[in-house]
């Protein structure tokens, strides 16, 4: 009597389907990905229920790091260049056009006026949170005021040419930055008649049961759901 022979099956699995799925997902991620912007100064922002996406172009960003140091950044190199030019004349810094250009293309500006000349020679790798920042601690010598004044006057010229060239002022503060520095940043803005500005936050869901939540519910899907 012959024993029933169990047919030996191959252990190999067809990989084609899995490969298809893997590459489908890969394509999705490649297309949706947006790299984290290279941040020179690490800042942990607080979260809020605000659902408006922070502006990504035509902005002037003031960063306030955890030590209360202020840094300036903008995506508009020509505007930065003009503002630097103005400050250079006003404060007699003696910067050459080459140095001004170098400063304008730097990702952040974070030093006092007197050090700008030396700062323009710094390599990009040296731009980190060890920088002293723009002096704002002292109310009498709040250099951010001078910076904002220069930006405002450059903007005024721009708007006269093109009414749509409005810049958004963004404030990006760290969780543990203290109020006195924050207050001096705001003072620098309000004294230059910049009365409206945006504060960068992490998105956060509206807690259910609260008034805003009820309002959003009654308005239907009017309030966009917060991502993340």
């Amino acid at each position: 009597m012959g024993r029933a022979k169990v047919k030996r099956k191959s252990t190999t699995v067809d990989m084609t389907a899995m490969c298809d799925v893997a590459f489908l997902l890969l394509t999705f991620f490649i297309l949706t990905t947006k790299f984290k912007p290279d941040e020179k100064i690490p800042i942990t922002t607080p979260s809020s229920v605000a659902s408006k996406i922070a502006p990504e172009k035509n902005f002037i960003m003031i960063s306030l790091d955890k030590n209360g140091h202020a840094f300036l950044n903008s995506d508009m190199v020509p505007v930065k260049e003009q503002a630097l030019d103005l400050i250079n004349q006003e404060q007699n810094l003696g910067l050459t056009p080459g140095e001004i250009h170098k400063l304008a293309v730097m990702p952040i500006i974070g030093t006092s006026f007197n050090n700008l000349k030396a700062y323009s020679q710094l390599p990009v790798a040296a731009l980190n949170d060890k920088l002293p920042g723009i002096p704002i601690q002292d109310t009498a010598n709040n250099q951010l005021k001078v910076w904002m004044k220069a930006f405002v006057s450059v903007q005024r010229d721009l708007i006269s040419d093109d009414p749509n060239a409005k810049m958004a002022v963004i404030l990006k503060g760290d969780n543990v930055a203290k109020f006195p520095e924050f207050k001096n940043v705001i003072a620098a803005l309000t004294e230059n008649s910049i009365l409206e500005f945006q504060m960068v936050t992490n998105p956060e869901g509206v807690p259910s049961g609260t008034e805003l939540w009820k309002k959003a519910q009654s308005e239907g899907a009017k309030l966009e759901p917060v991502n993340g």
């Binding site: 191959s10 190999t12 699995v13 990989m15 899995m18 490969c19 893997a22 590459f23 997902l25 890969l26 991620f29 490649i30 949706t32 990905t33 947006k34 790299f35 984290k36 922002t45 607080p46 809020s48 229920v49 605000a50 659902s51 408006k52 996406i53 922070a54 306030l64 963004i170 503060g173 969780n175 543990v176 930055a177 203290k178 109020f179 006195p180 924050f182 207050k183 705001i186 003072a187 309000t190 004294e191 008649s193 009365l195 409206e196 500005f197 945006q198 504060m199 960068v200 936050t201 992490n202 998105p203 956060e204 509206v206 807690p207 609260t210 008034e211 939540w213 309002k215 991502n227 993340g228």
Partner: protein, 182 residues
């Protein structure tokens, strides 16, 4: 490991003198390709930023313009001090000189306080004043402004000058709270 032998099916007749080319399998082992695919997926998943930062709008009054002083009714006003170590102090209406009407709170409990105040005040009179102390952080300010938007408080003001009088009061309250060990 992932070899599949499919070329073993020899169905053709083999004559003695017929030389037949060996039939090669057209199948390719896809395992390394899948590995690579998932490796790249992992990479993109980690580098991608799903949530974009949002922004909160803040409008400040113009210090220079001679705007009409806003009339705030004492009955509808509530002042919130931001103290040290994420502490909050609040009082209704006018401050008593001995600070007897100042109450302590925190960021969880303040929601109910604001809602209670809102419930007993006509909507036009409700006004919140935030006075941050020197030891309060940026997060505290954002949190309290966020709390206003959560509770749909339309009228509020952020005091942008540290007055020695009120900062001394906040320090006093902080000292009391420290002593109480809270």
């Amino acid at each position: 490991m992932a070899e599949m032998d499919t070329s073993s099916k020899d169905t053709g007749k083999k004559g003695p003198g017929v030389k037949k080319g060996k039939k090669m399998s057209t199948r390719v082992d896809l395992t390394p390709m899948v590995d690579l695919g998932f490796l790249l997926i992992t990479f993109f998943m980690f580098t991608t930023t799903m949530s974009q930062p949002t922004s909160m709008n803040l409008k400040m009054p113009d210090d220079n313009a001679n705007t009409k002083e806003q009339n705030v009714k004492q009955s509808g006003a509530m002042t919130i001090w931001l103290g040290d170590k994420n502490r909050l102090y609040y009082y209704d209406g006018e401050l008593k000189a001995d600070l007897s009407n100042v109450q302590m709170s925190d960021f969880k409990a303040i929601r109910q306080v604001i809602l209670d105040k809102k419930a007993v005040t006509p909507p036009d009179d409700l006004f919140m004043i935030v006075m941050p102390g020197n030891n309060s952080t940026y997060k505290n300010i954002i949190d309290i402004l966020d709390e206003f938007s959560i509770d749909v408080v339309e009228r509020y003001a952020l005091v942008n000058k540290v007055d020695t009088g009120y900062s001394a009061n906040i320090n006093k309250m902080d000292a009391i709270a420290d002593q109480a060990g809270k």
